[in-house]
Symmetry: C2
Subunit: 404 residues, 2 copies
Amino acid sequence: MEVKNQNSLWTMSKRARDVQASPIRKLVPYADEARKKGIAVYHLNIGQPDIETPPEFWNAVKNYSGKVLAYGHSQGLASYLEALSGYYKKCGLEIEPDNIVVTTGGSEAIVFAFLLIAEPGEKIIVFEPFYTNYNGFATMAGVELVPIETKAENGFHFPSRDVIESAIDSGVKGIMICNPNNPTGTLFTRDEIGMIVDIARDNGLYILSDEVYREFVYEGEHVSVFDFPEVDEFAIMLDSISKRFSACGARVGNLVTKNKELHQAAVKFGQARLCSPSLEQVGAEAALQLGSDYFQKMIGEYKRRRDVVYDGLMAIDGTVCLKPAGAFYAMAKLPISSAEEFAMFMLSDFSEDKKTVMIAPGPGFYATPGMGADECRIAYVLNTDDLKDAMRILKLGVEAFNKR
Amino acid sequence: MEVKNQNSLWTMSKRARDVQASPIRKLVPYADEARKKGIAVYHLNIGQPDIETPPEFWNAVKNYSGKVLAYGHSQGLASYLEALSGYYKKCGLEIEPDNIVVTTGGSEAIVFAFLLIAEPGEKIIVFEPFYTNYNGFATMAGVELVPIETKAENGFHFPSRDVIESAIDSGVKGIMICNPNNPTGTLFTRDEIGMIVDIARDNGLYILSDEVYREFVYEGEHVSVFDFPEVDEFAIMLDSISKRFSACGARVGNLVTKNKELHQAAVKFGQARLCSPSLEQVGAEAALQLGSDYFQKMIGEYKRRRDVVYDGLMAIDGTVCLKPAGAFYAMAKLPISSAEEFAMFMLSDFSEDKKTVMIAPGPGFYATPGMGADECRIAYVLNTDDLKDAMRILKLGVEAFNKR
């Protein structure tokens, strides 16, 4: 019998061929090898906090009295939407339940936002270095990321309006920001967010604002895109409980927009996949009752960790890193030729007192080939004693790497 | 300042404009209105089982001893992948942990499968009536569904090989089947699945096989696509615990393929969104220990319900419905002019003893305009006493509708 489709016999789609392997997770086998050799690995490579998920979350989940774990509403459980609105109001943001769609982690919020504003082939501006999974979401949604460089020497703050506007062409539909920033730890000023709002308004672009680290601020103030009333028509905020309540495995995030048409379409995307995990929304709702005490204690702890990491970096001659003011990351230019080789060296060829350190190499956070070659992202998600030891070992590792 | 993008000022993407509202959920406001008038509504419209989620699931979740709800592996928790492999082997299917990717519900498995095999604009054959959310996933992935008709008079079994092959052109990348079928309840025979395998093999197409209702079989045997060894290169199975363990709100599904290249790409899609809900995988793993006793009891209950619904349908003169042998749905051609009008009539203008029935109108399950106009999907997810009463009321409703 004739094979009609012979040219395409079980070819995989281009997007499936293109989707990147996680540049962070690809080092995991080397870490496993190190452990097999009896070497302990300090994980500074991933943003998995060690902070305990609050008892309020666990109690709500464990005392759940339902007998059937049923579908929830596609937009999110009504009581959780109310609780989120209340949380935002405590943050000074006038966000109503009907401005929100609960998503399966911040990840799904980003995918929905890409699908909402761009056709396949259209473009979204991002500032590099950026959260590496934006690449995967862009491949899945078929959109192109247009990277604009930010620099370690400048604390990874935005470049001037002229530089940003020179990247806008008719295919660009939005500008994506992350504040406080993953991977750089940069906290953007009111003037900077205002500039992005002006650029978006004057060029007819959407703003996608990733604010999952809102509370993680050590100096200065967090400015939300929704602090600017004129954005109501063209802003989409992306949010998640993962870091805020150390509940990464819950997969509870949300999307916020005051643009009713966008909101309705986001709900329809939500209807297709029925609902986000319902039991975890119950836990998240309980966690949202936590007050400023909870955040102050957590932020105090992270600030001490930030200081340990920054001091440790400054002890390495030739490092470039302005003190990060938010999130729980530092992006540092180290005196090394290749961060990727260095990361592998640390796992395969180096140890100190039977211990080593795993960092995330810079290139994974850039879209432009060749950039970030001497940079590393450090996630400070360990206690201060471990961090001090890890930074001591990192310094020794840099010296050993350069003496090879 | 010049607005560079004036033509596209905050336009929404075409896919966001195109994505369908759930044809089932759009009737919800009418049901709410009925309840406000004091009328009880029997919900035969959605596949939300009333069966309790097994205690094994709840106990595992509630006794979880971790303090941090952390990210799990992107492919799925290792122990859950092992448990799934063991479950499939009990089903007679040689599926190894490395053939599996855990997904966020069966929904995400379908989206991943669409992304894996088709480019935007490419096509996938489906048999209509089909699970209505395939439409939403196709819009999100930018793929086109090519519907092939199946008929109530024939119990919604597949048409002949010639008919199916006449729909294949160079843009078609796969054939999607659902066995046992939602929305029709049809259980496909070994010969039928074999025919699909032959067609896919001879035409270079992938098979996407939705088998979430595997255990819901009342007469005959369930045949999996993986019962045919030659499919290893081109089959993707889509699965979920939602119905099997009455845990729809958990959002735990999985994708199975023995094609290593497809599997690796699916894991990369998974890495972008980090992981599926981790606590629920712990619950699902415990539920997988349940043996044939659990399923026999559940299937016995559903079979009694199926019989009540079928007898109730046969009591309505002019109904066309062959006895469904699987899943927990019946798709029936009723003696009515418009199922959509009838569904609204039942909620807005009819009640019997202060009660009415909500059904899912047929057209929502078809891609071809005008089809399914006189058909309804009935989900038998209520106990037999309620179902008997609901079918009595449905019959009275049909009579009243036709006397308007």
